[in-house]
């Protein structure tokens, strides 16, 4: 921003993040961001080390960055013809080329020929070059054309296109907060779940093993390639997940089971008609934490879920209550809850009421285990937290002992954002808790007018046969 105003600027970063800063700046229109590098992780240094190394190592770089002329750079970003043939070769050569260019995840890709891409475009109902979204981090435009190229590479079928397009729209929705978490060091994985009859028509799995089902996994891989090629994520450059980032996973809700319970499927809960088709997007730092409820008492079941959710967080541990929990509930577990009188809404309320952390513990992890908002000593932060209106006495969760004086223990809410998706093995008793950033988004899937005709040719039963009354 300063550069745009004609004011020379320099950013201070840790090693590795200098390239990320330069790349992100270039993709925001700043061709040669100047960076001064501090050599060690800031948060592991003492204040004395920070002061000494800043003066000795960083300041000379700052002076150079602000006073030495910068060689002229290209005037504008590269614009290219998306139909241009960029390479010709056999499978091995194409895979090597795509990996070298950073276009592939390293696993074999299906060659994205024009013919294949054009076949995919038949299933969209959008003009090939229409803007679907502009995706951070690189602010590149997603179009049906380049979404299809990535879908082909991943091994998708042409009929997966409406889901890929809606998923990209969800990623581009500011409510998803992709700009904040896409390249984050916390290694947030974007994941997606599909509701409505289309999920059943395309056989997106909602049962045992669902994310590993070939249909679910190719759509997930396509979304990861889209993150790479359209959002612009590259490890050691813009995807800064400290330990990397796994491929995206894709879920569907077991709506038949949900309906039998008298609960609402996810999209109906959010105001969509039962037979609408939606894609929702969330993030998680882990493929969930497994909980194996061993009770038929709905109240205790809720409590063990609250325990699992309270102790499963994203970000650094010090961000109590700030991660959205995605709770995958197997149908058998959901049945006990529903028969015990719980709706999704009342369950959510009880989980949020029950899932609390001892304030002292929350402040301990905030002060010693978070990257930023620590303004003072532990004692000062504790006093501030104890004054917070959400901090209360007498609400100690049921998994703590009731020794004399327990009513005086201060606790703070640990669960504020909850989404339920009923899925998984109907014969087992599992709950999977995923914790991610607060951002989530949902998009209705648009099908082309001739969808039924296309699907009949592709050998699928008509969409209407998957409707629920």
């Amino acid at each position: 921003m300063a550069e745009r105003l004609g004011i020379p600027a320099v950013a201070v970063t840790n090693p590795g993040f200098d390239d990320q800063a330069r790349t992100m700046a270039r993709e925001a229109g700043i061709p040669s961001l100047q960076v001064a590098v501090y050599p060690d992780p800031f948060d592991l240094e003492t204040d004395a080390q920070l002061r000494e190394k800043s003066a000795r190592i960083v300041v000379p770089q700052i002076i150079d960055a602000l006073t030495k002329p910068i060689p002229a750079s290209k005037g504008s970003a590269e614009n290219r013809d998306s139909r241009k043939i960029v390479f010709t070769g056999n499978i091995d050569q194409i895979n090597r080329h795509f990996t070298d260019r950073g276009w592939s995840d390293g696993m074999s890709v299906t060659p994205p020929t024009k013919e294949k891409v054009e076949e995919f475009l038949k299933y969209t109902g959008y003009p090939p070059d229409q803007e679907i979204a502009v995706l951070p981090i690189s602010n590149l435009k997603a179009t049906p054309w380049n979404i299809a190229v990535n879908g082909v590479m991943a091994g998708c079928r042409p009929e997966h296109m409406p889901i890929l397009i809606a998923a990209v729209q969800a990623m581009g929705d500011p409510a998803f907060r992709y700009r904040n978490h896409g390249g984050s060091t916390h290694s947030f994985v974007s994941f997606f779940w599909v509701n409505g009859p289309l999920a059943r028509q395309l056989r997106i799995d909602h049962g045992q093993g669902l994310i590993a089902h070939p249909v679910n996994s190719v759509i997930g891989r396509a979304m990861s390639l889209i993150e790479r090629n359209i959002a612009g994520l590259r490890i050691k450059e813009t995807q800064m997940g400290s330990f990397g980032k796994t491929l995206s996973w894709v879920l569907a809700e077991d709506e038949e089971a949900v309906n039998k319970l008298g609960w609402e499927p996810y999209h109906v809960e959010k105001g969509f008609p039962k037979n609408a088709n939606t894609v929702s997007a969330g993030t998680s730092t882990v493929w969930g934490r497994n909980l194996v409820p061993a009770t038929s008492d709905p109240r205790i079941l809720m409590e063990i879920m609250a325990y699992g959710m309270t102790t499963t967080e994203a970000f650094a541990s010090g961000f109590t209550g700030q991660s959205r929990r995605y709770v995958l509930v197997e149908p058998g577990v959901a049945r006990i809850l529903a028969e015990g009188g719980y709706t999704k809404s009342s369950l959510k309320q009880d989980l949020m009421r029950t899932g609390r952390k001892i304030t002292y513990e929350a402040v301990f992890s905030q002060v010693h285990g978070s990257f930023g908002r620590v303004n003072a000593t532990f004692e000062t932060e504790l006093q501030r937290a104890l004054r917070d209106r959400n901090n209360e006495k007498g609400k100690l969760p049921p998994w703590y002992p009731r020794f004399p004086g327990w009513e005086e223990i201060e606790t703070t809410p640990a669960i504020r954002m909850v989404e339920f998706i009923v899925c998984g093995d109907p014969a087992r008793n599992k709950v999977q808790i995923l914790a991610g950033g607060p951002g989530t988004a949902m998009q209705q899937i648009r099908l082309p007018a001739n969808w039924d005709e296309l699907m009949e040719k592709a050998g699928y039963p008509p969409l209407k046969s998957f409707y629920f009354e």
């Binding site: 921003m1 550069e3 745009r4 105003l5 004011i7 020379p8 600027a9 320099v10 950013a11 201070v12 970063t13 840790n14 200098d18 990320q20 800063a21 270039r26 229109g29 501090y38 992780p41 800031f42 948060d43 240094e45 920070l50 800043s54 003066a55 960083v58 300041v59 700052i62 006073t67 030495k68 002329p69 290209k74 005037g75 970003a77 290219r80 998306s82 139909r83 241009k84 960029v86 390479f87 010709t88 056999n90 499978i91 795509f98 276009w103 060659p111 020929t113 951070p136 690189s138 602010n139 590149l140 435009k141 380049n146 190229v149 500011p174 904040n180 390639l225 090629n229 612009g232 990257f371």
Partner: protein, 133 residues
């Protein structure tokens, strides 16, 4: 499980095993013409601001992104610059708005606008932003 394994093994033996693939005819490898998977650029490059001849006598503004102990490093940088350039004016990080996270194009740009206004109001000749990690 043990019994299941024996059944599967028996089925595999009955199917004839891998020798069929050994006899497969070698085919000429197909060659493909492929297109790029990359997104389309939407940004226009701006020119970099001209650099200063010296920092002496200039106003250098420090901007904090509220992370990674820049509230410790930025003052240290300001003090070191002051020692080297006695006439430099340092605007401390607490006198400037926080560095905004990138705000989505087309949406409200409140934080960016606040920082932009402060850069003009404080007469900043140069800006140091920290810390990225």
């Amino acid at each position: 499980m043990k019994y299941l394994t024996t059944i599967v093994t028996a089925v595999l033996l009955a199917a004839g095993g891998p020798q069929e693939t050994v006899a497969a005819e070698r085919l000429a490898e197909p060659v493909y013409n492929v297109v790029s998977p990359a997104g389309e650029s939407t940004v226009k490059m701006t020119a970099m601001a001209p650099r200063l001849d010296t920092l002496d006598g200039k106003t250098v503004c420090l901007v904090w992104n509220y992370a990674f102990k820049a509230d410790v490093t930025l003052p240290a940088i300001g003090e070191a610059l002051k020692r080297r350039y006695p006439n430099v004016k340092i605007v401390p990080h607490y006198a400037m708005p926080l560095a905004p996270l990138p705000e989505p194009p087309g949406g409200p740009q409140n934080e960016s606008e606040a920082l932009q206004a402060a850069l003009k109001e404080k007469g900043c000749d140069a800006v140091i932003i920290g810390n990225g990690g």
